[in-house]
């Protein structure tokens, strides 16, 4: 097996036994990036010098046996919506094309302290607005399973990189499916943690009350290892959770027999592609064979989830993106003579169409006379969505849903129709207003393209998601499938 396609667990074992060095591992991945990224377009920035230096330091730690963690010496990439001190961070936008942040995101800092090796920054939809990574201001990322198809979005670069062997894991951002949709489209594992479980400090905000940072990995076990490092309260994020972080690895092996698996009936409706439905049904049978009890449950307010999600997102995003004004950082209009000219030119040229659309919609829904009808009502329905989950979890432990009604679509297929693009996330958005954790993992293929399923748990119960997902991966092979890229 090629070094670049190992799991974190496997690579760590080899590093620990000193059979390979982090430098070799890092060089193998850098070589892989050179080999395939021209076709994929997963990276916006490759930090080769930084990576090699960090790999040498990791080898020193491994040699001395000091402060060795499961991530020491493991190369990773970061979605370019998460700031990296001294390393250009674009958020997929022209307006930040040359922006070099003066500080480090908490999640990145924790990974670097654990000894992980930073390879570079992953492509995304501009300001994480999109479901295909086609909204990147620089270039689209392509799906490693079919280069004519999208990898999903907005963390498309991260999912494609993990799938294509261009990193061992990635940090993505999930506001309404941005980790889970690309994970499913690219046949990798993606976790949206509980809101507040991972500090948002350094995540360029889209919708502050939905945004999360989470791992994209090749196995559920790897996702648990990464979350272990990045989770936990942060003095820089007032919304980060105070609850202690459990030992995720210790709970992975627990049997799932007797656990109750809920199937929300609102998520199993006509319109799903036949291959996707078949894969999900097979996954459900697999859980049954593992001894789980299958129950049908209801999340009655699901039909309103997309509207609630987008109304609140537009509102929060319209304010979050106000700081890109050309005054302190980022691209700025050079010829502007007046303040309005500076704003209009900087923002008019710096933002793409989808970003402008959402800012305008957000400003509209917050404006005098519309606030009650849109923003306030959306917040009220948000409470109902949260209660839906609370009630469902009274009768089951974990929910299982599709990630997407279909497999990865073709580039350009939905770009002309924003609403069709928004609908890609119909199964994913409800978890973010509710704040609950959700895990996407591979569960089959439809016409040669990966199909993912989503597991959802109560607030703070990532360990349960890992336990169920890991049990599934012990008896299935889907997650081991790799795209036949460059062969």
């Amino acid at each position: 097996m090629d070094l670049y396609s190992l799991t974190i667990t496997q690579a760590h074992e080899l590093l620990r036994q000193r059979k390979i060095s982090s430098l070799e591992l890092t060089q193998a991945v850098l070589e892989r990036i050179r080999e395939v990224d021209g076709q994929i377009g997963a990276y916006l920035t490759v930090t080769e010098g930084v990576a090699l230096e960090q790999a040498r330091q990791a080898d020193e730690r491994l040699r001395r046996g000091e402060r060795v963690t499961p991530l020491t010496g493991i190369p990773f990439g970061v979605k370019d919506s998460i700031v990296t001190e001294g390393i250009r961070t674009t958020c997929g936008s022209r307006i930040l094309e040359h922006y070099v942040p003066p500080y480090q995101a908490t999640a990145v800092r924790r990974l670097l302290e654990a000894g992980a090796v930073l390879l570079g920054k992953h492509n995304l939809d501009e300001f994480s607005m999109g479901s295909s990574t086609e909204n990147s201001a620089f270039f689209p990322t392509r799906n490693p399973w079919d280069l004519k198809r999208v990898p999903g979005g907005s963390s498309g670069g991260s999912a494609a990189a993990v799938a294509a062997g261009e990193c061992f894991f990635a940090l993505g951002g999930d506001t309404g499916g941005s980790i889970r949709l690309p994970a499913a489209f690219c046949n990798v594992v993606g976790l949206k943690p509980t809101y507040g479980r991972v500090s948002r400090y350094g995540l360029i905000a889209l919708a502050s009350s939905f945004d999360t940072i989470g791992p994209l990995t090749r196995t559920v076990e790897d996702a648990a290892l990464v979350l272990q490092v990045i989770a936990g309260q942060d003095a820089h994020d007032a919304t980060s959770l105070a609850q202690p972080v459990p030992d995720y690895a210790a709970q992975l092996q627990r049997p799932v027999k007797g656990l109750r698996l809920g199937l929300p009936r609102e998520y199993f409706v006509p319109g799903m592609e036949a291959g996707v439905e078949a894969a999900l049904q097979e996954a459900i049978r697999q859980f049954e064979r593992l001894g789980m009890e299958i129950r049908e449950v209801s999340l009655p307010h699901t039909p309103y989830a997309l509207a609630v999600y987008y109304l609140i997102l537009f509102a929060e995003a319209s304010a979050n993106l106000a700081r890109f004004d050309g005054v302190r950082f980022g691209s700025a209009a050079q010829q502007a003579q007046t303040i309005p000219e500076l704003y209009l030119e900087t923002r008019g040229k710096g933002f793409g169409a989808e970003v402008k659309r959402r800012i305008m919609l957000g400003a509209y829904t917050l404006s005098a006379g519309y606030y009650d009808a849109y923003y306030l009502k959306a917040q009220r329905v948000r409470t109902l969505l949260r209660q839906d989950f609370e009630r469902a979890f009274e009768v089951c432990d974990v929910l299982l849903t599709p990630v997407s009604p279909g497999v990865a679509f073709r580039l350009g297929e939905k770009t002309a129709d924003p609403l069709a693009m928004y609908l890609s996330d119909v199964y994913l958005v409800a978890t973010n207003p509710a704040g609950v954790p959700a895990l996407a993992l591979p569960c089959g293929f439809s016409e040669g393209l990966p199909v993912g399923m989503q597991l959802i748990a109560r607030h703070g119960e990532e360990a349960l998601l890992f336990q169920v997902g890991h049990a599934y991966q012990q008896v299935t092979e889907w997650h081991k499938m790799r795209p036949a890229l460059g062969r």
Binding site: R200, D237, A322, R328, F329, I339, L366, A368
Partner: protein, 487 residues
């Protein structure tokens, strides 16, 4: 004309809080003492992408203490909100402020209005916390921004429209400033802009209860600007009604140079700030026990101190009011007391008379007095011990204000000590009598009123140093002797 109308005035007061760090980051809040522009800044207060605010607990405590001093209710839930607008001095494109759930509501103060000092109750509608903006400097065709002030905690105190005269506005504003200084949360230094006012003004026919269209005057940075602008605006509105016109609802600026209010924007162009709850800051639970602890820790406030001065020192109400109107003056008074033989009433009349007269003449604050309370105590001791006369003491005080020297030093250096020994005084008295035989004659003939004139001559001969009591005694006995010798 003005008796036909009644003004209705409400005031918004913005007070910077003297916390160590800024409202939402760890930068020093003391921008006035920064070595140079843009040195008290960090990624958070310059609005770098991905940064998050964290509430400064000290600002919250100071805010609650002010609110308690203003007899406000502190609701158990405190919510921050984003106030959205664009300006280069606003780093995030929104100001974190409070809207629907402010820090405090429903307070009141009682202030002495006008020359008679009639107590008037003015209700406080709300008190809330927010962050200050950066400072703009215009240099020719360029504008420069100093972010040292960006994020400094601001307390906004909003009154009900309970004021009906310029006197009431001034009394209220001075009272609030005094409370802030008593609490040690604001220096009250108007020149540094730590206090700023906005006045809402309307006028209506006297006796009417209707609320007419009001105008808002922004950015009043001194008591002078506040009173002049308010008086001007009342006159302007009356003139409009008298000529049959209608007052427009608009925001006005105060033109200091020409002493007129100028329209900044009318209602049609009013800002829509699109307030919504700040998603980066969870609602703050304000626990009753915490509020009570802060209440218990409140220092003595102006009203209580005034009452104590009346009761403990036997001061007249008017004197107690003057002494306590400025915390620093009251502090000075109480620092003099234990060090002097003079009674509290003597000290009080000295401070309200001579001491304040010098402050007014020199246009200085108590803090700028060049000698310590101990020096004033000594001066009064010299009077009590009859080392110097009252007249000399006034002269010495003037010199103390000029040079800051201690009174004893001045008295010795200038030989101002009172002449209180018979051996020195008697020859002088003899001389005065010899030089004025006609006056002595008229005295002996029964015109006893010239005695005072002779006293004055002795005082003049000693340049005011003659002990009046001894002089009187000696002069009387000498004249009595002369009368006896005539018989």
């Amino acid at each position: 004309m003005e008796q036909k109308y009644e003004a209705v005035i409400g005031l918004e007061i913005h007070a910077e809080l003297q916390t160590r760090s800024k409202m939402f980051c760890a930068c020093p809040a003391d921008y006035a003492h920064a070595e140079s522009p843009n040195t008290h800044i960090c990624p958070i207060c310059t609005g770098q992408p991905g940064t998050l605010p964290v509430v400064n607990r000290a600002a919250l405590e100071q805010g609650i203490q002010v609110a308690l001093a203003l007899h406000c209710t502190i609701p158990p839930l405190n919510i921050f909100a984003r106030k959205n607008y664009y300006y280069p001095d606003l780093p995030k494109g929104y100001q974190i402020s409070q809207y629907e759930m402010p820090l405090a509501v429903n307070g009141w103060v009682e202030v002495p209005v006008g020359k008679e000092g009639t107590l008037q109750r003015i209700r406080i509608r709300r008190v809330h916390l927010e962050e200050d903006t950066a400072k703009l400097f215009h240099q020719g065709d360029r504008s420069l921004i100093d972010f040292n002030r960006a994020g400094v905690p601001l307390l906004e105190i909003v009154s009900e429209p309970d004021m009906h005269s310029v006197d009431a506005v001034l009394a209220y504003a001075m009272h609030i400033r005094n409370v802030l200084r008593y609490l040690g949360v604001n220096s009250g230094d108007m020149q540094k802009g730590v206090l700023r006012f906005e006045a809402n003004i309307s006028v209506r026919p006297a006796g009417s209860q209707e609320l007419r269209t009001r105008t808002e005057i922004k950015n009043l940075n001194s008591f002078r600007a506040l009173t002049r602008a308010t008086a001007y605006e009342i006159r302007r509105q009356i003139a409009i009604y008298e000529s049959g016109g209608q007052v427009l609802q608009e925001t006005l600026g105060w033109d200091e140079e020409h002493e007129v209010t100028l329209s900044q924007r009318s209602k049609e162009h009013a800002h829509d700030y699109r307030y919504f709850p700040e998603p980066d800051l969870p609602p703050l639970q304000i626990e009753a026990a915490w509020v009570e602890a802060l209440r218990a820790a409140l220092p003595e406030l102006p009203e209580a101190r005034r009452q104590r001065f009346i009761e403990a020192y036997g001061l007249p109400v008017a004197e107690a009011r003057i002494l306590t109107a400025e915390k620093s003056l009251a502090d000075y008074f109480e620092a003099v007391l234990p060090q002097t033989q003079a009674s509290p009433r003597e000290v009080s009349s000295w401070m309200i008379g001579e001491f304040l007269r010098h402050l007014n003449e020199r246009q200085i604050e108590v803090e700028a007095v060049p000698f310590p309370p101990q020096a004033l105590a000594e001066l009064l001791n010299l009077v009590a011990q009859r080392t110097i006369t009252m007249a000399t003491a006034k002269e010495v005080l003037r010199e103390m204000f000029e040079s800051g020297a201690m009174p004893q030093v001045i008295v010795e250096a200038r030989g101002l000590a009172q002449i209180a020994d018979e051996a020195t005084l008697m020859p002088l008295i003899e001389q005065v009598l010899q030089e004025n035989p006609q006056v002595v004659e008229s005295y002996l003939n029964g015109k006893e009123s010239v005695f005072q004139w002779l006293m004055g001559q002795v005082a003049r001969a000693t340049r005011g140093k003659a002990d009046p009591q001894l002089t009187r005694q000696l002069l009387q006995s000498r004249l009595d002797a002369l009368r006896r010798s005539r018989l």
